[in-house]
């Protein structure tokens, strides 16, 4: 009986094996499309739980990768948010630039600074406006904060601006109240990123208080009068008891300027008013109330001052023409003659800008 059972089991095993082999052979021999259809049916029915389990496993396996991806996305968002603050600053700069355009009127060429990686990038700037845009050599380059420099080389679509950090830069300047004139040039630190400005050729009897604004005088014909150059932050040195050199904090920073205006044919009379400090309603609300001050009335002294300024501009134009004929260098060789103007109004005494 046991032998019969064993024989039956052996026969059963053989038939099972033969049947499985036959089915396998049929699966191998049947058309591929049929095999694919059968496989798809099995995956969606009998094997679906296993497929689902493997999908979960794959998700679990990639969880670390996904965590890294999420962390990367988080870092990217953090970087983006940091960039957004930069964009906000850039927008503010562009808005101020736009306001400056309106104030200056026609005669400017907007340009974008194309940053380079060289350490001397602060001394010269590559601008994306060139001859095709109307840029010419010696055109002043400004930002809403003040003077950047002048165009040194012009290509068809780009130009190189020499900034105030360049060792060869010089500009004839005058204090905002018009009392002290001199030459502004870069300090001799050598490092472009730490280069400051100094106000030279100041006679010993003329003094400037800290915070006084120094503007371009307009002499030489390169830089129009009224463009802020810097603010006095102290005395740099005194030479032999006859000259005092002041240290200036530059009004505009070439290292952070992203957009600039190239002045080309701008109306000179609008430049000082364009750079005059302006206050909006928020500033007015934040400023503590001041005692009422009588509005300055036109006086003969003021009229005389305006007449003197007009004459000075005329002199500047003449000097510019003469300088253009004699000297094509961007640097302004001679300091402006010190012209004693009448004492300014008390409100403008601290160097609040050109009125």
């Amino acid at each position: 009986m046991a032998r019969g059972t064993e024989r039956w089991e052996s026969r059963r095993d053989t038939w099972l094996f033969a049947g499985c082999m036959l089915l396998s052979a049929l699966a191998l021999l049947m058309p591929a499309s049929w095999g694919m259809a059968v496989a798809a049916g099995l995956r969606t029915t009998a094997l679906a739980p296993f497929v689902w389990l493997q999908e979960r496993a794959a998700e679990g396996r990639t969880s670390r990768t996904r965590f890294r991806a999420v962390a990367s996305e988080r870092d990217s968002l953090a970087e983006l948010s940091r960039t957004l603050s930069g964009l906000a600053g850039e927008n503010a700069q562009l808005r101020s630039l736009l306001n400056l355009k309106v104030r200056i009127g026609p005669g400017f060429i907007p340009a974008e600074v194309l940053r380079q990686t060289l350490p001397t990038d602060g001394r010269t700037l590559l601008l994306d406006a060139g001859r095709a845009d109307g840029v010419a050599p010696l055109d002043p380059v400004v930002t809403p904060e003040g003077l950047i420099g002048a165009i040194r080389e012009v290509d068809q679509h780009t130009s190189i601006a020499m900034t105030w950090a360049h060792p060869e830069f010089r500009v004839s300047a005058v204090s905002a109240n018009g009392q002290v004139a001199g030459i502004v040039g870069p300090t001799s630190t050598g490092d472009a990123s730490r280069t400051g400005l100094e106000f030279r050729a100041i006679t010993y009897r003329d003094t400037l208080t800290d915070g006084s604004v120094v503007i371009a005088s307009g002499l030489g014909g390169v830089y129009p009068r009224g463009v802020p150059v810097g603010t006095v932050v102290g005395v740099e040195r005194e030479q032999l008891g006859w000259e005092r050199v002041y240290r200036l904090r530059p009004s505009a920073q070439p290292s952070i300027a992203g957009h600039v205006l190239i002045l080309h044919g701008a109306t000179p009379l609008r430049i000082p008013a364009a750079f005059a400090p302006r206050r909006d309603s928020l500033d007015s609300a934040l400023v503590a109330p001041r005692p009422p001050v009588a509005a300055p009335q036109p006086t003969p002294v003021d009229s005389a001052a305006r007449a003197r300024r007009r004459r000075l501009r005329a002199d500047s134009a003449a000097a510019a023409a003469a300088a253009a004929a004699s000297d094509s260098a961007p640097a302004e060789a001679e300091p402006a003659p010190v012209e004693v103007l009448p004492p300014p109004a008390p409100a403008a005494d601290t160097g609040g800008g050109v009125r």
Binding site: E9, L16, F17, S24, A25, F50, A57
Partner: protein
């Protein structure tokens, strides 16, 4: 006797379920690449050694069809290969003392290598690829499978123990 058989079947079912879990969940998470151990092959071999040629062949066919469905390069090749592996694994029980861990590891190694050989041949792989697969890939895959099976037998040896009286 009946309760003992039921308990053994329950243990076997749980063990096979564990192997399926390892194959479809632990393997993708713990191992990467083509040399990962094949836990389904471990279950097939151990089931064939325990049950017999017919059941081994049938189990091999089912496992093979499932493998073909999941990787349908040549439908039927894995079914053929696993059927032969299951049947032959059960037949070898008469020639070897299959309750030894090392013998089981050898069974696993040979089963994986034979399965790969049959699948490659049935799938029509080229000579160059066939030689490389059989001499490099298949032995490594078989080795990892044998190691994994050995570990499982050490841990759950009682559940897969072959009882010649059954």
């Amino acid at each position: 006797m009946t309760s003992a058989k039921a308990a053994n079947r329950l243990q076997l079912t749980v063990a096979l379920g564990l192997l399926l879990f390892l194959q479809f969940y632990a393997r993708p998470r713990l191992f990467e690449g083509r040399y990962a151990p094949d836990f389904v092959m471990v279950g097939l071999v151990l089931l064939a050694l325990r049950s017999g040629p017919g059941v081994g062949a049938l189990a091999g066919f089912i496992v093979g069809v499932g493998s073909d469905a999941l990787s349908p390069a040549r439908f039927g090749a894995a079914a053929l290969a696993n059927t032969m592996v299951g049947y032959l694994a059960a037949l070898t029980r008469a020639f070897f003392f299959a309750d030894n861990v090392l013998v089981n590891a050898g069974f696993l190694f040979g089963a994986v290598w034979l399965r790969d050989l049959i699948v490659l041949v049935a799938s029509g792989s080229g000579d160059q690829g066939l030689a490389t697969s059989l001499l490099i890939d298949a032995p490594l895959r078989a080795l990892t499978t044998a190691l994994a099976g050995t570990v499982l037998l050490v841990l759950f040896g009682g559940w897969f123990r072959i009882r010649l009286d059954q």
